[in-house]
C-alpha cells in the first residue's frame, strides 16, 4: 500500500512537471536547430526589410528583445496586432511608438505563436558574422604572384614595343651591312648569300602571301560583320540613367532586403513588377526623408513629409526599362522563379552589387536555349512532374528542361 502511494505521488509529480513544462513551453523560446532555421527563414522573408538583429534600421535592433520587452506574451501580442497593444495604453508599447516617430509596425495576424517564437529563437541564437570572412568574399580575384593585371599588361606592352624596335634595328643593320658588302667586290658565292632571291619585298609581292593576307583580313572582317549583326538588339550591359537614383547595392546589398519584398509579382505572374511607390513608403515615411531622391518618391505619390499626410496629387514615375524582350518572345517569371526555383541573380547578375542596374545577361534566344539544355527540372516535391519523372527514370542522367519539351517553339513563341 505504502509502495503504491509512493508510486502515486511520483506519478502526480511527474504529471505536474509535464503540465507545467508544456504550459510554459508555448511561452518559452525554443533552442533547437530546427526552430532556429525556421525562424531564420521567417525573419529573412518578412522582418528583414525593417529589422536587423544587431543594428537599428526602420525598426529597432532585435537583439535582446526577449529580455527588453515586458514579457514573451507581450511580444506575441505585439507582432500579431501592434495597433491593439498601443491602443490598450500599454506603457512600453507607447514608448517605442513615440520613439519611432509614431510609425507603426505592420501587423502579422496570420502568425502562430510557434512561428513568432522561432523568430525569437533565431534572434537569440544570432551570432554576427566573423569580420575576417567579409573581405575574403568581397576581394577581387587576385592575379598571379601579387602583381595586378594592370601592371602585367603594361609590362607585356613594353616588352612588345622593345621587340618591335629590335626587329626594326636589326632590319636597318641588315640593310646597312648589305649596302656595305655590295660596295666591295665579292665572289659569286658570297654575292649569292648577300643578295638572296628571297627578300622581304619578293615575299610580300608573291601571290601566295597576298592571298593569305587577303584571306585573313576578309575572314576577320566577315566575322566582325556577322558578330555585329548578331549583336543588333542585344543590350548587354545596358545601364540607363533612371529618374530616381535608386541603389540596389544599398537596398539589396547592404540592407539585404529580399528581392521579392519589392518585386511582388515574381512568384505570381509574368512580370516581376517594378515596385509601386507605395512599397517604398513602407520604409521611407521615416527613413531619409530629406534626401532629394526620396523627395522624388514623395512628389510622385503625393506625400507631404512635414504633415505626414497624402495630398492626393500623384504623378507616375517613368522608369527606363532595362530588360527588353522582343514582343514575339513570351517569358514568365513565375515559371522560372516560383516553379523552377531559380535565383534572381542567375539571370540578372549580382544586382546586390550594382549601384545602377545593368543588363547582365545577353537575353538572346541562344542564351535561353543554353540554359534550358543545362538546367535540371526542379521536380522535387512538385506533383505536376510526377509522370515525367517516372518516365525519365529509364533514361540516364538527370531530367533537363530540354527533356520535357523546353526547347519547343511554342513554349515561348505564340
Amino acid at each position: 500500500m505504502k509502495y503504491k502511494l509512493a508510486d502515486l505521488i511520483k506519478f502526480f509529480t511527474l504529471a505536474l512537471l509535464i503540465l507545467s513544462y508544456s504550459s510554459s513551453f508555448s511561452q518559452e523560446i525554443p533552442t533547437d536547430a530546427a526552430s532556429i532555421s525556421a525562424g531564420e527563414a521567417l525573419f529573412n522573408g518578412n522582418c528583414k526589410s525593417c529589422h536587423r538583429v544587431d543594428k537599428k534600421l526602420v525598426g529597432p535592433a532585435l537583439a535582446g528583445v526577449q529580455d527588453r520587452a515586458p514579457s514573451i506574451k507581450w511580444i506575441l501580442e505585439w507582432v500579431k496586432n501592434p495597433a491593439k497593444v498601443i491602443a490598450s495604453g500599454d506603457e512600453y508599447a507607447n514608448k517605442i511608438y513615440n520613439e519611432y516617430n509614431k510609425s507603426q509596425m505592420t501587423a502579422f495576424t496570420s502568425y502562430t505563436d510557434t512561428q513568432i517564437l522561432s523568430i525569437l529563437a533565431y534572434v537569440k541564437a544570432y551570432k554576427p558574422e566573423e569580420p575576417a570572412a567579409a573581405p575574403a568574399a568581397g576581394a577581387p580575384a587576385a592575379g598571379g604572384a601579387g602583381i595586378s593585371n594592370d601592371y602585367l599588361n603594361v609590362i607585356i606592352a613594353g616588352m612588345i614595343l622593345i621587340l618591335v624596335l629590335m626587329v626594326v634595328i636589326l632590319g636597318l643593320i641588315v640593310s646597312a651591312l648589305k649596302r656595305f658588302l655590295n660596295q666591295k667586290d665579292l665572289n659569286e658565292d658570297d654575292a649569292e648569300v648577300v643578295n638572296s632571291p628571297y627578300s622581304v619585298s619578293s615575299i610580300t609581292r608573291s601571290s601566295g602571301f597576298i592571298f593569305l593576307v587577303v584571306f585573313v583580313v576578309a575572314s576577320i572582317g566577315f566575322k566582325q560583320v556577322i558578330d555585329g549583326l548578331y549583336s543588333i538588339g542585344v543590350q548587354q550591359d545596358y545601364a540607363p540613367k533612371q529618374p530616381i537614383a535608386f541603389s540596389h547595392k544599398l537596398h539589396a546589398g547592404a540592407y539585404e532586403i529580399n528581392c521579392k519584398y519589392c518585386h511582388t509579382g515574381v512568384l505570381k505572374g509574368k512580370q516581376a513588377n517594378i515596385p509601386s511607390p507605395n512599397i517604398c513608403m513602407n520604409c521611407h515615411t521615416q527613413i531619409k526623408q530629406e534626401s532629394p531622391e526620396i523627395q522624388k518618391i514623395y512628389s510622385a505619390i503625393g506625400y507631404d513629409p512635414k504633415t505626414a499626410s497624402y495630398t492626393g496629387k500623384q504623378k507616375p514615375i517613368e522608369w527606363v526599362r532595362i530588360h527588353n524582350l522582343p514582343d514575339l518572345a513570351y517569358f514568365n517569371h513565375a515559371q522560372h522563379v516560383n516553379v523552377g526555383g531559380i535565383e534572381c541573380q542567375t539571370c540578372h547578375g549580382p544586382v546586390q552589387e550594382m549601384e545602377v542596374v545593368r543588363q547582365y545577361s545577353l537575353l538572346t534566344m541562344g542564351w535561353c536555349i543554353d540554359c534550358h539544355r543545362k538546367t535540371d527540372v526542379n521536380n522535387k516535391g512538385n506533383d505536376y512532374y510526377n509522370k515525367l519523372t517516372e518516365l525519365h527514370k529509364a533514361s540516364k542522367g538527370k531530367m533537363k528542361v530540354e527533356d520535357i519539351g523546353g526547347l519547343e517553339c511554342a513554349k515561348c513563341h505564340y
Binding site: 513570351y330 515525367l388 513563341h413 505564340y414
Partner: protein, 1034 residues
C-alpha cells in the same frame, strides 16, 4: 452503312461545276488577277532595298528607350500580367446574356458565358463575344454634346433641367423612349424622373417586334406576356418561321435547351425531332430534320392545317410538304412538343397558342407562369408617340439607348419632327441617327463600364459591374435621369445596391449581412430564387383566329418578301462591329454586305447568275413604297417566289466600319392589325447592274472525298451506333487493315499531355460564336471586303456549311432538285494538329514543328512566308498575312482593333500580333494551355481536366466542342471518345478510339489529326431510295 451515296457541296458553283470554279478549285492560292501595286518597277525595288538596308542598320545603332510605369499605389488584387475575372451582364435592347469579363491590366479583353445563370447557362453568341470590341469603338462619343458641339456635363445638366422645368411649368408632355428595359433599377430611376415630371410617359419599343405575340397571349391568358420556352423538354419541335437558334427571342437560352435533346450517344439513342417551315433558309431551318418551304402567305394555312389535325377537325391542305406528317407526330407527343412561330400577327399567334394548348404543352414546354421580359415593346404606343410628336403634342423627349430614327418605320418622320421640340436628348453612347437628330447628346457608359441590374425573368436577376474605368466623359444614363429630376449626390451604384437591399436582401434568410449578400451576388453575377407564379387560365379563341388566319389574303405582287433580323449584326445596333461584319453568315457565307436571297428557280426566271467569285446582279424592287436596290444571292432552300432581306444595314451615322453598307429596310415595315409586319408583297424585281459579293467558302471543294462529312439517320443509329461511318480498308501483305492504321511514320510518344479535341456535329448548330471568340482571343486580323473577295480572310476557325442531297448531279432538272431544299451540315474546321502533319515536312525553315504534347506549333518569327505549308495542308486551314494588317491605314476601316489606339486595347497581350509575310493558324489556344499548366505547377499538383479550355470551347453554347488531355483517362474527352489505353504503349498517338461515332476528317490519307468529329445523326425516317424520292418530287 447504307449504300446510298449523298453528294455534298459548299456552294452552287461547285454543284454546277462551273468552268470558272473548276479552274481554281484545287488551288490554295489563286491568282485572280489582283494587281497589288503596279506602280513599282525593279529599279524601285532596288532603291527601296537600298534604303531599307540603310534604315535598318541606322535603326539598329540605337535601340529605342522603353519606359516602364508602375502603379503609384498598386491595388491589392490587381497584378500586371495576371487577368482578373468579373461577372457581368451583356444586354443589348432585350438581348440578354450573363457573362464573365476577362480583364487584363485594367482592360476588358474577352467575354465568356457565366455558367451560374440558369437563363443562359454559360452560353454565348457571336454578338456577345463581339461586344467587347464595341467598348473600344472609335465612333463613341467622348463626352456630352449640345447640338453637335462638345460641351460639359454641368452645362448640359443645367440646360436640360431648365428646359424640363419650362415644360413642366406649362404642363407640357415629356416622353422617355427606350427599347425593352430589362433593368428594374433603371425603371426605378425613370420612376424618380417621373415623380418630378408627372407628365412623363415611358414608351418601350423593339426594332424587331414581338408585340403580336404579346397581344395573342393577352387574349389567350387575359394578361399580356411572352412565356418561357423550355426546348429541353420538347421531343418534337415544330417551328413556323421562328429562327430560335439564330435570332428569335432568346437564342442562347433556346440553343442550350435544344442541344439537350439533340445529343446522342451509345447510351442515349433518342433525340428530338425538329420540323421547320419557312421561306428563307435560316440557321434553325438548317438544323431541322425536316424542312418545308412555304411562302409567308401560306403561314396561316400551315398553322390551320396543323390545328385541324391536332384537334381532329376537318382537314385542310396547306400544300406545304411535311406539314401533315408534323401535325400527326405532334399528336403522338402531347405535352412533350412545342410549336413556335415567328409571326408578329396577333391572330396567327393566337392560333399557335391554340395548337400548343390542344397539345397540352402549357406547363411543360411552355411556361406562361414564368414570363420573359426580353421583349416588352409596344408597337401601337410607339406609333402613337411618333404621331404625337408630329402633331406637336409632345414638348420633350429623352431617348434612352435606342435609335428609332433608324430602326423604326416612322423614323424619317420622327427625325423631322424632333427639330421642333423644346427638348430632345439621346443617351446613346455613339452619335447615331437619333442622337444626331436630338438637341442634346448625353452619352451613357458602355455596358462594360456600368453598374446595372437585370431581370430577364421573374426570380432571375443579374448584375452588371464596371470592368474598366469609363474611357470617356460619359455618364450612367440612370444618373442623368436622376440628376435631371433634381436629385442631389446621385450615385447609381448606391441606388442599385439600395434597391437590392430592399427588394431581395430583406426577403431572404441565407445571408445575415447585406455586404456579404451583395458581394456574393456580385461575385456570382446572378441572384436567383423561385418566384411565385400566378396561375393563368387559357381561354380559347380558336374559331375567331382560324377564320382570320385562313381568310384568303391574296398577295398583290408576284413575289413575297421576308424581312428578317440579320444574323451577324442583329437589329443594326452592332453594325459598327467589324467582327460581326466579317463573320460569314452561317448560311450564305457572305460578309460585309447586304443582299437579297433568291431561290434558284426564281434566279433562272430573273436571269441572274452567281459565280464562285461572288459576281451577281442588283435587284431593284419596292417594298411598301420603299425602293430597294440590293445584290441578289442565290440561296438553296429559299422558297420559290420569296425574297429574303435583312434588317440592320443601311445605317448612315454609324462610324467608319459600316458606313454606306446596304440599305435600311425598317422604313419598309408597316403596322398591320396593331403590330409591325415583317412580310410584304412585291412586284417582280428589275435586274440592274452587276455587283460582287464577298463570300467565303463557296470557292472551295472537298474533292468529292467521302469521309469529310459522315452522317446517318436516327433509325440506323439505333440499330448500329457506327452508322454512317466510312472506314476504308487497305490490303496489307498479311491482312486487311484500316487505312488510317497504315503509316510510314513511327509516330510520336507524348509523355505528359496529349491535347485533342472532339466536335459533335449533331449538337453543333453552326451559330459561329466560336469563330468570333477565336478572333478575339487570338488577335485575328479582319481584312475587309476586298480581301475576302481575294480569298484572303484570316479566320483561324471557320464553319464549313455543306449542302447535301440525294439527287445525283446530271441533268439540269436534277440539279434544280438538289439545290431546291438541301440538307445542311455544319462542320467547324480549324487546324487539325495532325500527328503526321504535311505542313511540317515541307517547311524549309522549320517554322512549323511538332510539340511533345501533340500540338502543331507555328512560329511566326521563324516563318519566311514560302506558303508551302498552306499548299500542303489538306484542310486549308492555314492563313497567310498578305499585308501588315496592324498599324496600316489601308485596314483602318475593317480592322480598328489593330489600327486605332482605342481599338488596340482589346488585343490579347498573350498572343503575338502577326506581321506581313508570315503564316498563321489555330494554335489550340496554346497560351491558355501554358497558363493552365503554370497554375498547376505553381500549386505543385497535376493538371486537372477542365482547367484548360480553348476559346471556341468556352464560347460553344451547346457544348459541341470538347478539348482536353487524351492521356488523362479521367478527362472528358477521353470519356467521350472512349479512349482505350494500350498498357504497353500508354503514351502513343495510336490510341484506340472506342466511340463508334468518332471519326477524323480525311483519316485515310494518314495524317492522323488530333481533332475528332462525331457523326451527324438526323432524326429522319429511313428514306426511300433516292430515285423514288426524286420521282415523287417530280
Amino acid at each position: 452503312m447504307s449504300s446510298k451515296k449523298k453528294i455534298y457541296w459548299k456552294g452552287l458553283p461547285e454543284l454546277k461545276n462551273d468552268a470558272a470554279f473548276v479552274k481554281h478549285a484545287d488551288k490554295e492560292f489563286v491568282d485572280l488577277g489582283v494587281q497589288e501595286d503596279p506602280g513599282h518597277s525593279r529599279r524601285d525595288f532596288l532603291k527601296m532595298m537600298g534604303f531599307s538596308v540603310a534604315a535598318a542598320s541606322l535603326a539598329a545603332c540605337e535601340a529605342p528607350v522603353r519606359k516602364a510605369i508602375p502603379y503609384i499605389v498598386k491595388p491589392v488584387d490587381v497584378d500586371p500580367g495576371i487577368p482578373n475575372y468579373y461577372a457581368s451582364t451583356y444586354v443589348n435592347g432585350g438581348d440578354y446574356c450573363s457573362v464573365v469579363v476577362k480583364v487584363r491590366d485594367g482592360r476588358p479583353i474577352k467575354l465568356e458565358g457565366n455558367a451560374l445563370s440558369s437563363v443562359t447557362k454559360g452560353g454565348t453568341s457571336a454578338q456577345v463575344e463581339a461586344s467587347v470590341l464595341s467598348l473600344y469603338d472609335n465612333f463613341r462619343l467622348r463626352g456630352p454634346k449640345i447640338a453637335d458641339k462638345a460641351s460639359d456635363w454641368e452645362t448640359v445638366d443645367k440646360e436640360i433641367t431648365t428646359k424640363l422645368g419650362e415644360i413642366a411649368g406649362k404642363g407640357g408632355q415629356i416622353r422617355i423612349v427606350s427599347n425593352t428595359l430589362l433593368s428594374p433599377s433603371t425603371k426605378a430611376a425613370i420612376e424618380v424622373f417621373k415623380a418630378k415630371y408627372p407628365t412623363t410617359t415611358h414608351i418601350q419599343y423593339d426594332p424587331v417586334s414581338y408585340y403580336g405575340m404579346w397581344k395573342a397571349n393577352e387574349e389567350s391568358f387575359g394578361k399580356g406576356l411572352i412565356p418561357s420556352y423550355d426546348f429541353s423538354k420538347a421531343k418534337l419541335i415544330v417551328s413556323v418561321g421562328a429562327d430560335f437558334l439564330g435570332t428569335w427571342l432568346s437564342p442562347i437560352e433556346f440553343t442550350k435547351g435544344y442541344a439537350v435533346n439533340r445529343e446522342v450517344s451509345e447510351d442515349k439513342r433518342e433525340m428530338s425531332r425538329h420540323y421547320q417551315f419557312e421561306s428563307n433558309l435560316t440557321l434553325t431551318g438548317a438544323n431541322a430534320d425536316y424542312r418545308g418551304q412555304m411562302k409567308p402567305s401560306q403561314e396561316g394555312a400551315v398553322l390551320a392545317q396543323i390545328y385541324n389535325i391536332v384537334t381532329g377537325g376537318s382537314a385542310t391542305d396547306s400544300g406545304v410538304k411535311w406539314v401533315e406528317k408534323a401535325a400527326k407526330e405532334l399528336l403522338e407527343n402531347k405535352g412533350a412538343s412545342l410549336v413556335v412561330c415567328s409571326s408578329n400577327d396577333k391572330e396567327t399567334q393566337v392560333l399557335v397558342n391554340e395548337i400548343n394548348n390542344a397539345l397540352g404543352n402549357y406547363g411543360t414546354t411552355i411556361l406562361p407562369g414564368l414570363p420573359v421580359n426580353f421583349r416588352q415593346g409596344n408597337d401601337e404606343a410607339m406609333a402613337a408617340f411618333v404621331e404625337e410628336v408630329k402633331a406637336g403634342k409632345v414638348d420633350g423627349v429623352i431617348f434612352y439607348n435606342c435609335n428609332p430614327v433608324y430602326d423604326h418605320p416612322m423614323g424619317a418622320d420622327l427625325e423631322k419632327a424632333l427639330k421642333s421640340l423644346t427638348l430632345s436628348v439621346s443617351t446613346s453612347y455613339t452619335p447615331d441617327e437619333t442622337a444626331s437628330a436630338s438637341g442634346y447628346m448625353a452619352p451613357d457608359h458602355h455596358y462594360l463600364e456600368s453598374w446595372n441590374d437585370f431581370e430577364p425573368k421573374p426570380g432571375h436577376y443579374s448584375l452588371s459591374q464596371p470592368a474598366i474605368t469609363p474611357l470617356f466623359k460619359s455618364r450612367q444614363a440612370q444618373e442623368s435621369f436622376m440628376v435631371w429630376a433634381g436629385e442631389q449626390n446621385v450615385d447609381y451604384f448606391t441606388f442599385v445596391s439600395d434597391n437590392w437591399k430592399k427588394w431581395f436582401f430583406d426577403k431572404q434568410n441565407a445571408e445575415a449581412s447585406f455586404q456579404t449578400f451583395w458581394d456574393k451576388c456580385l461575385y456570382n453575377g446572378v441572384y436567383e430564387f423561385t418566384a411565385d407564379s400566378t396561375s393563368l387560365n387559357f381561354t380559347s379563341h380558336a374559331a375567331e383566329a382560324l377564320s382570320v388566319v385562313t381568310a384568303p389574303a391574296k398577295p398583290s405582287g408576284q413575289y413575297e418578301v421576308v424581312i428578317y433580323e440579320s444574323y451577324g449584326i442583329g437589329t443594326g445596333a452592332m453594325a459598327n462591329n467589324p467582327l460581326l461584319q466579317e463573320l460569314p453568315d452561317p448560311i450564305t457565307k457572305a460578309t460585309w454586305d447586304h443582299y437579297v436571297t433568291v431561290s434558284q428557280l426564281d434566279a433562272k426566271e430573273l436571269g441572274i447568275e452567281n459565280d464562285a467569285e461572288g459576281h451577281t446582279q442588283m435587284l431593284s424592287f419596292a417594298v411598301n413604297g420603299k425602293q430597294v436596290e440590293l445584290p441578289a444571292l442565290i440561296q438553296p432552300g429559299q422558297a420559290k417566289g420569296t425574297l429574303g432581306v435583312a434588317l440592320g444595314y443601311g445605317r448612315t451615322k454609324v462610324g467608319a466600319v459600316a458606313e454606306n453598307l446596304g440599305q435600311n429596310l425598317y422604313p419598309a415595315l408597316k403596322l398591320a392589325n396593331g403590330s409591325l409586319s415583317y412580310i410584304a408583297s412585291v412586284a417582280k424585281p428589275a435586274v440592274k447592274d452587276s455587283f460582287q459579293l464577298a463570300q467565303t467558302q463557296i470557292h472551295q471543294t472537298y474533292m468529292g472525298r467521302e469521309n469529310v462529312i459522315q452522317e446517318s439517320v436516327l433509325a440506323e443509329f439505333k440499330k448500329d451506333p457506327s452508322a454512317g461511318r466510312w472506314n476504308p480498308h487497305i490490303s496489307n501483305w498479311d491482312k486487311k487493315e484500316e487505312a488510317k492504321d497504315v503509316s510510314l511514320w513511327k509516330g510520336h510518344e507524348y509523355k505528359n499531355h496529349y491535347w485533342g479535341m472532339a466536335i459533335d456535329l449533331n449538337t453543333c448548330t453552326g451559330c459561329a460564336a466560336c469563330v468570333v471568340a477565336c478572333n478575339v482571343e487570338n488577335n485575328v486580323a479582319l481584312v475587309g471586303k476586298q480581301e475576302v473577295i481575294n480569298r484572303r480572310e484570316m479566320h483561324w476557325l471557320r464553319i464549313d456549311r455543306y449542302y447535301s442531297s440525294d439527287a445525283l448531279p446530271g441533268s439540269y432538272k436534277e440539279m434544280e432538285i438538289a439545290s431546291d431544299n438541301p440538307e445542311v451540315t455544319f462542320q467547324p474546321m480549324m487546324c487539325q494538329h495532325c500527328n503526321n502533319a504535311p505542313c511540317e515536312t515541307v517547311c524549309p525553315v522549320a517554322a512549323t514543328t511538332h510539340s511533345t504534347e501533340g500540338l502543331n506549333q507555328m512560329t511566326y518569327n521563324r516563318c519566311i512566308g514560302t506558303r508551302y505549308c498552306a499548299n500542303n495542308c489538306p484542310y486549308k486551314v492555314r492563313r497567310f498575312n498578305w499585308f501588315k494588317y496592324h498599324d496600316n491605314q489601308q485596314f483602318y476601316q475593317s480592322n480598328p482593333a489593330m489600327n486605332t489606339d482605342l481599338g488596340r486595347m482589346v488585343l490579347n497581350p498573350e498572343v503575338t500580333v502577326r506581321s506581313r509575310g508570315v503564316m498563321e493558324k489555330c494554335s489550340f489556344c496554346v497560351q491558355r494551355i501554358q497558363t493552365g499548366k503554370l497554375t498547376a505547377k505553381k500549386e505543385k499538383r497535376p493538371l486537372n481536366d477542365g482547367e484548360v479550355i480553348t476559346a471556341c470551347q468556352a464560347a460553344c453554347t451547346t457544348g459541341a466542342i470538347v478539348f482536353g488531355d487524351m492521356n488523362n483517362p479521367e478527362s472528358r474527352i477521353s470519356k467521350l471518345l472512349k479512349i482505350e489505353n494500350d498498357p504497353k504503349r500508354p503514351y502513343s498517338i495510336d490510341k484506340k478510339i472506342g466511340n463508334p461515332r468518332a471519326y477524323r476528317v480525311l483519316e485515310d490519307i494518314g495524317v492522323k489529326p488530333n481533332v475528332f468529329y462525331l457523326t451527324k445523326i438526323r432524326n429522319k425516317d429511313v428514306e426511300k431510295s433516292a430515285k423514288a424520292e426524286q420521282k415523287e418530287h417530280a
